[in-house]
């Protein structure tokens, strides 16, 4: 099975990212990391590829920088990566991004596409569905478990009150929730091998896609602040403060 896993390099979420004051785009430093959300997709991709003697190809769009995030995913065990790095794609909306990723995935060939349910930095949370429509495949979304049996892809789809069992024939797209699996840590050998694995850097032109972004940020402003409250150290009586506040709020 040929598995394509969509992975995004993002600014290290340990510190909040900046928005460019002119363009309003996210400022993307050279050393971006692998979006934590995508480690689950990579892990599931690797498990399915191992089970079916298949391959895992990483597909990414964005400035490649020093490729730190892509190498993290390669070190986990993915076979190769295709990254679409093209200055003209800066500030792309989700649909434009989906158009580019679809072209890259089609060029590689696929039986299964895996993506996260929403990214950490943009979290529009619609790219997988857009991608599935462009690739003309079913979207098995919000999966907390994924299995492949022959030509059938089966998932447990998270719902508000539990989960549904959903299946379709391949080729298909699956979006996976965080926490679906325990992503493996790269081994030392994996990290060494990742350095020489193929990374194909291409432009939109190379893929023959022409996409346009149809939304524009017009302003960025601070939200009205919430008045800050009281901070106390528990001296053994803090619970009485809570009781008083509950009374004041008239809920007890």
């Amino acid at each position: 099975m040929r598995v394509a896993v969509c992975v995004k390099q993002i600014p290290d979420p340990a510190s909040p990212y900046d928005l460019d004051p002119e363009t309003h785009f996210v400022v993307r430093p050279t050393d971006q990391v692998l979006d934590d959300t995508d480690r689950y997709g990579v892990e599931i991709g690797l498990q399915l590829a191992e089970q079916t003697e298949g391959t895992v190809t990483l597909i990414s769009m964005g400035p490649s920088g020093n490729l730190q995030g892509i190498r993290q995913a390669l070190a986990m065990g993915a076979d190769k990566a295709v990254i679409v790095d093209d200055a003209s794609l800066q500030g792309s909306d989700s649909l434009a991004t989906a158009g580019v990723l679809a072209a890259a995935i089609k060029r590689e060939g696929f039986d299964l596409v895996i993506a996260g349910t929403e990214s950490t930095d943009g979290y529009a949370g619609i790219l997988p569905q857009q991608l599935a429509e462009l690739l003309e495949v079913p979207a098995l979304t919000f999966a907390k478990k994924v299995a492949v049996e022959g030509d059938t892809v089966k998932i447990e789809r998270q719902t508000q009150t539990g989960y549904d069992e959903v299946e379709s024939p391949s080729p298909a797209l699956v979006s996976v929730t965080a926490g679906a699996v325990e992503p493996r840590y790269p081994t030392f050998k994996g990290i060494m091998q990742a350095k020489s694995k193929p990374v194909d850097t291409v432009t939109a032109g190379d893929l023959g896609v022409d996409v346009a972004t149809k939304q524009k940020i017009v302003s960025i402003r601070p939200a009205p602040e919430r008045a800050s409250g009281e901070l106390i150290e528990d001296d053994g009586e803090a619970h009485l403060k809570i009781v008083a506040l509950l009374e004041q709020a008239k809920v007890i």
Binding site: H24, S94, A124, G125, L127, E133, E230
Partner: protein
Amino acid sequence: MATTWVFVEETEEGPATVGLELLTKARAFGGELAALYLGAGSDEHFAALGAHGASKVFHMAPSDLLPTASAAAAIADLAGQHSPDLILFGLTYTDRDIAGRLSARMGKTILSNATEISVDGGAVTVTNEIFGGMTLVDTTFESDAPYLVIARAKAFVAEESGGGAPEVESVAMPDVGHSGSARVTASHAERLEGPKLEEAAIVVAAGRGIGAEEGFAVINELAMKLGAATGATRAIVDAGWVPYSKQVGQTGKTVKPDVYIAAGVSGAMQHLVGMKDSKVIIAIYKDEEAPILGISDLGIVGDLHKVLPKLIEALSNR
């Protein structure tokens, strides 16, 4: 705005609340207002849509297929016939699936995570919150209508308008071939106890600070005493301590209770967006640096395993 459509999914309790919130909001835009309703449907459900402002309902009845690809195609066809100006969705799984596919099918961008939608003549501006709600971003469309927007739950309040029964038009779900071939083979629902998280007047939420799965017992006990619903951070949902249905935040539920008690919750941006509009926020945590302090009315630096049992006792003695 000449014509607004609101997608509304049927839930076990009838039309999804977020759909009714969006219908209420859309009334303010003026013009025609219709609901795109996905579910078995009933006169009672259609009346609820009418009461929230829809004068027309396009009714799509699903089969055992996952309805998303087919519903997106049906809506795209309808949009081709009727040329709506604005189509609104809620930030739920089914809504996101249909909105995403519709967007790609029609070649129209989507603005997601909306907490405010403003209409000025034919122009639509969508506001969303970033950095845990500290910063607001206003975005506009640079394409032609229809404009697609996905809004967060509880961004607007659902109120009836006194509208009568709407005209209901049944819409066939087209066969979209392989794209629509996903099938639902079984459904599993948890039995939920106590008040619903989204509707409870008090929410007691726990984070990793409870230490272990067993630590949730004291949270349950306090909730029981207060008639509260229990909530959780994603950290303890991912750890498998509590089910996903309890998750509050960006990828969970949005709540606005009278009182939100957070125990052992650090207050990550993605958690704050789901609860920061609670009327009173009380937080108990170990370290003084936790960001939840910034939005708390009462912050207690202490051990939740000491504070909460005493609180439960004090409440029992009342």
